[in-house]
């Protein structure tokens, strides 16, 4: 993510949005994933923090140890150098104070003493030589002849000695070039030169004593130190920064390698940090006494860190193993924590899909999850009880509604019948009145049916006949009624008093206006698994739109509002549907001036006590319980 300098708030809001989205995604992934990721992120963060701190500590410690080790090594080397250089100075001193000062050069020769001293120190020496101030050779060992045309006064070591007579001078390394080379060999030397006082016939004359130290001795000492470690190196330079020894001396000579020797020569003794050629490094400097030479140890800073490939690989390996271990341990811990929650979740995950058995709710795990489970179990029990109550209430309501619908019929019918009987008694038609009352008594017997709402079709037809007999008497046989009932349907169940309202309508709205020509046909038959009962009249009939309105709720309400009666068909239709389902009920077919046929469709349910009770309590499942 790039930082927008112009609009930092935009970046912040973008970052916050990203964090928010990430958290939201994590939330959606589930508790186990979230806990695992959280644990891992926290663990890795702590590990990185810890690792970084340890690494810093390790680096500092390594640095201190390496510096200490380097300083010790350099102190040792410095001591070796000082021993060596002191021994060389002593050789020079011995030559000067023990030999040259005692001799008169005009009379005595130094050759034997010089040769002896050379032989005693030839491991560290290349040559001895004594020159007069004019550059002429007094004596030398082991080679005693100078190159033709050689003027030693031009040599740096000679000039230094002459310029500063009070000191001994150590030159930088060079190839000795003043004597004739023997066996085609040339030697690298460091020239130790000093002013000496020569005596010629009692007259003191200045001269220069040269001790050519074997450079190999210094090189071997430095090579030994440099061989001790691969990541650090040491070099030697004089006080002006001129290199005396460097492990890459030749490469520096041909400009293929660079060293910061000129700067290092200005350093005081101690530890310094520098950046050279883009590399940060630590430099330890020690000055070798008397010569002013600087012994310089260099450690690139990468040496303190995880510099080598193997160390880096090892660190990477440790990191990978730690992450793996963290993942596995976190997974284990996460499982331990989330497993009870997940089990609880699984046990209630169908809760919204239907009834859940409270006993199947998981109870276990940590106390909090167990309490949650118990609470959930209790809640489920309550929910189930409430659901049962609701079902019971609904059933009760349905039954109440059925009873209410049925109760709408009784006063309606009773009013009409009693009205007819009143008219008969008033007209002194006592026999008819007795018949009417008898029929009415039979009708009420069926109507009551011991409070049952489901009766046999047989009783329903008895009820219908009673009703039609009453009506025929009342209408003075103004219409004909014929009955076409299959015997086999009589022992099936039906909701009681469903034919009577239809017959009532057939009389009032069908055949009443026809005078003596009215005809009503009542039929009943079994069709497949259903029972069909129909009432057909040859009355006035109805247009199709009127037919459609008869069984609609709006029409029902309108009729109830207008007349308080005439609600028979819709009541029957609703009762059948409530009892048996929406696929059952009434079907009305009518043609104006042709007549009307109303057909009742109910399932063929054998009239048994068990079926009757099931239908009564609304527990009929649609499956027919055969009597046998």
């Amino acid at each position: 993510m790039e930082f927008d300098r112009e609009n930092p708030e935009k970046v912040n809001s973008g970052f916050s949005k990203w964090i928010g989205q990430t958290m939201e995604k994590a939330g959606r992934r589930g508790i186990q994933f979230t806990v695992l990721v959280s644990f891992t992120v926290v663990s890795v963060f702590i590990m990185v923090l810890l690792g970084f701190s340890l690494y810093q500590r390790f680096t500092l410690r390594t640095r201190a140890m390496m510096t200490e080790s380097m300083e010790q090594l350099m102190s040792q080397t410095e001591a070796n150098f000082e021993d060596y250089l002191t021994s060389m100075r002593r050789v020079s001193d011995a030559m000067y104070y023990d030999t040259i000062k005692d001799k008169d050069m005009a009379l005595d020769s130094l050759d034997s003493e010089m040769s002896l001293l050379y032989e005693a120190n030839k491991d560290n020496l290349i040559s001895f030589a004594l020159f007069k101030r004019d550059g002429s050779l007094v004596c030398a060992a082991p080679v005693s002849t100078m190159k033709e045309g050689m003027d030693v006064r031009l040599q740096p070591w000679f000039k230094m000695a002459m310029e500063r007579p009070e000191n001994l001078h150590f030159s930088t390394p060079h190839v000795q070039n003043i004597f004739n080379a023997s066996s085609f060999r040339y030697y690298w030397v460091i020239s130790l030169s000093r002013i000496v006082e020569l005596t010629y016939s009692g007259v003191p004359v200045r001269g220069v004593l040269l001790v050519d130290m074997n450079y190999n001795t210094i090189e071997e000492m430095m090579d030994r130190v440099n061989g001790s470690s691969s990541y650090q190196y040491f070099y030697l330079c004089d006080s002006n920064g001129e290199l005396i020894y460097h492990p890459r001396m030749i490469q520096i000579g041909v400009d293929k390698y660079r060293e910061n020797n000129l700067t290092a020569s200005d350093y005081d003794d101690g530890v310094h940090e520098e950046i050279f050629e883009g590399e940060r490094r630590m430099v330890v400097v020690k000055t070798i006494s008397y010569t002013g030479w600087k012994l310089v140890g260099v450690i690139p800073m990468s040496g303190f860190r995880l510099g080598t490939v193997s160390t880096q690989l090892f660190t990477f390996l440790v990191l990978l193993v730690t992450i793996l271990a963290l993942l596995l341990i976190n997974r284990l811990v996460t499982n331990r924590i989330t497993s009870p929650i997940l089990r609880l979740n699984r046990s209630i995950q169908n809760m919204d899909g239907g009834r859940v058995d409270p006993d199947k709710v998981y109870i276990g795990g940590p106390a909090e999850v167990e309490n949650l489970g118990r609470s959930m179990q209790g809640s489920l029990r309550q929910v189930n009880e409430l659901m049962d109550d609701v079902v019971r209430e609904q059933e009760e309501r349905r039954r109440t509604e059925l009873d209410a619908l049925q109760s709408q019929i009784n006063p309606h019918f009773l009013y009409n019948t009693l009205d007819s009987i009143v008219w008969m008694i008033e007209g002194e038609r006592n026999a008819d009145a007795v018949f009417m009352v008898t029929q009415l008594a039979s009708l009420f017997r069926v109507s009551l049916s011991k409070g049952r709402t489901v009766i046999s079709i047989r009783d329903e037809f008895v009820h219908a006949r009673n009703y039609m007999n009453i009506q025929k008497v009342r209408y003075k046989d103004a219409f004909e009624v014929s009955w076409d009932i299959q015997e086999e349907i009589l022992d099936y169940c039906t909701v009681k008093l469903i034919l009577q309202p239809i017959l009532e309508n057939a009389i009032y709205y069908g055949v009443d206006a026809l005078g003596d020509e009215g005809e009503i046909v009542v039929s009943g038959r079994k069709e497949g698994d259903d029972i069909l009962m129909s009432v057909r009249d040859n009355g006035l009939g109805m247009p199709p739109e009127k037919v459609d309105q008869i069984l609609s709720d709006e029409e029902h309400e309108e009729r109830t509002r207008r007349h308080g009666s005439g609600v028979g068909l819709i009541n029957v239709h609703k009762r059948i549907m409530l009892r048996f389902g929406p696929e059952y009920g009434l079907r009305i077919e009518s043609e104006p001036d042709e007549g009307t046929e109303v057909t009742i469709r109910i399932p063929a349910v054998p009239y048994t006590e068990e079926n009757r009770k099931a239908l009564e309590h609304g527990k009929w499942t649609g499956e027919v319980q055969d009597e046998k």
């Binding site: 186990q32 060079h174 080379a181 085609f184 030749i250 041909v254 193997s310 690989l313 090892f314 793996l324």
Partner: protein, 323 residues
Amino acid sequence: MKNKRLFPALVLALVAMILAVIGFMVWESGNTANLRQIHVIIENSNDNRWVQFIEGMKQAAEDQEVILTIVPTGHIETLSEEEAIVERAIANGSDGVIIQLCSSIGAANTLEKLSDRTNIELVDENAYEVMSNVVGVVSPDHRAIGETIAQETAVYASKPLENCVIGVIRGSSALSSMEQRMDGFTETLESLGGRTAWVVECMGDAKEIKEQLEEHEVPEILVALDNAGMEAAGEYASSQEKKIIVIGTGTSTKSIYYLDCGIVQSLVVPEDYMMGYQSVSDLADYIHRNRFLPLVRTIAHRTIHKDTLFAEENQEILFPVQR
């Protein structure tokens, strides 16, 4: 489902990475234990002329962390003899061979055979026909050396070049490097008005060369086009009563000594230290990192006179400290 797959995949990936790192560490430790080995096959390996060259190679071997083996050799007469030495080096587990050819004629075939079995770096020879069979070439600019020698000849001639008797000692005509030096020298000399009175091919030991030289007129200027020739020229000139101007090329202490003594007037010195350093560096680089194209390097040369022999800038190159 996605989460269920994620965890095992993550664990498997980590385990695979751990195994890969461990494998790499084992492989690397094996590699460290078995450092790559480079063999060097040069004629007369103990000859003093190779001192600078070998010092350069030693430093490069240390820097590149390879084992350097200088195969002890004497005079290598033929390519088949040289091929046999390379075969032995390969049999000894060499990862690369640095070769100084004893002859350019037929070298392409020999190198082609060997290049399938080892990596070859060529030194001191830059024949184009062998380029495709080697990993790299490090050599001086032989033609330029010849030209410089001719120019020095003109500088040190005591009279006009056309009047000088100029004798030339050259190396084997079988070497293309020597042909290049000869061509460079001859063409430049002729452009300066001089011409060679005679040419001796440097064959055999010093005594034989001296005998060959004595068969010709004593020259006023004696030119040596290789180190052996320079040593022979120095010896010949120092044995002559007549002052002979000796100019040529050489790297051995003996050649330098003759310059130091004033027998040789001018010495053209190829930077053999760099030739040794670069050849090992390039070959080790190829072995370690497998570069693909042959790398051709030309090393510089210096013209040294008596007064500049011990100059600070020349000391390190001419007199390398031997380790």
